[in-house]
Symmetry: C2
Subunit: 129 residues, 2 copies
DNA sequence: CCACTCCTACGAAACCTTTCGTAATCTAAT
DNA sequence: ATTAGATTACGAAAGGTTTCGTAGGAGTGG
């Protein structure tokens, strides 16, 4: 139990995890191609990062022919929550509402999204009664 | 301009910044004492970290007698926003509303705080009309 | 069979962060 | 004046992250 306590992907690892959450499964080549649309990075760099992630248990892999197919081994929501918890503690004094206000304040969020959030808040209020 | 682009305090630096935002000004000894209430850490470790922060421009200092008095050189809100922007980009695909939902979902936020957030959303909706 | 390409594995360099030991300086007290 | 205490500055070790070069195995076309 409690595997959540140890979620701490690095920047590079998060970049790859985001791709895997989107794609479900992917080869090193596919991942590297996607990243290279944004910035130049060597194939072996991406490979090495993924290998380290495999050792850490952040991704799973399956041998297909001579190459591997990778998929995320940690859930997106858990990872997101861990990241939030971290900055909540390290910069927001633990106050989730401060964080939310800051996140909404400086960002252009669409009316539709604001509505969704409002609905969620109302649901939370109802549940706590 | 654009000094905000470079805000990237490390974990240890954030710990110290949080103290300085709270205390306005403090000496190395004071900061080290506060941190030591939570965890053991050598005086020179804290000193070194603060010296590095000074070199990076994260804190200001003033010579008072033989010692220095430090204060934060970057604003709390700007730093918080930079941290949010970072995880927004690295884990939430840029969606502030996803982040907000995740932050509210798993956290016990008081009814009062939820009300505040709701008011803020309503204000944002009004402003965008 | 040979050369070429594709992939993996390994190791090392460069860089950053965290931690602390040591040395130097200055003040205050004996 | 000497010693003890406080404070700074410096440097270096240890650990983690990012990046890549090189080597080797395995399949493919000529």
């Amino acid at each position: 139990m409690d595997k959540k306590r140890n979620i701490k992907p690095t920047e590079s690892e998060l970049e790859i995890l985001q791709i895997l959450w989107e794609e479900e499964t992917a080869t090193v080549k596919e991942i590297n191609d996607i990243i290279n649309k944004r910035k130049p990075i060597g194939y072996t760099t991406t490979l090495k990062t993924i290998q380290i992630m495999f050792e850490k248990g952040l991704v799973k892999r399956e041998k297909v022919g001579r190459s591997h197919t990778y998929s995320a081994a940690i859930k997106k929501e858990e990872t997101q929550q861990a990241l939030i918890d971290k900055i909540l503690d390290s910069a927001f004094g633990g106050s989730a509402s401060n964080l939310v206000m800051q996140a909404l304040g400086n960002k252009k969020t669409s009316k539709q999204e604001l509505e969704e959030i409002k609905k969620m808040i109302e649901k939370l209020e109802r549940d706590s009664e």
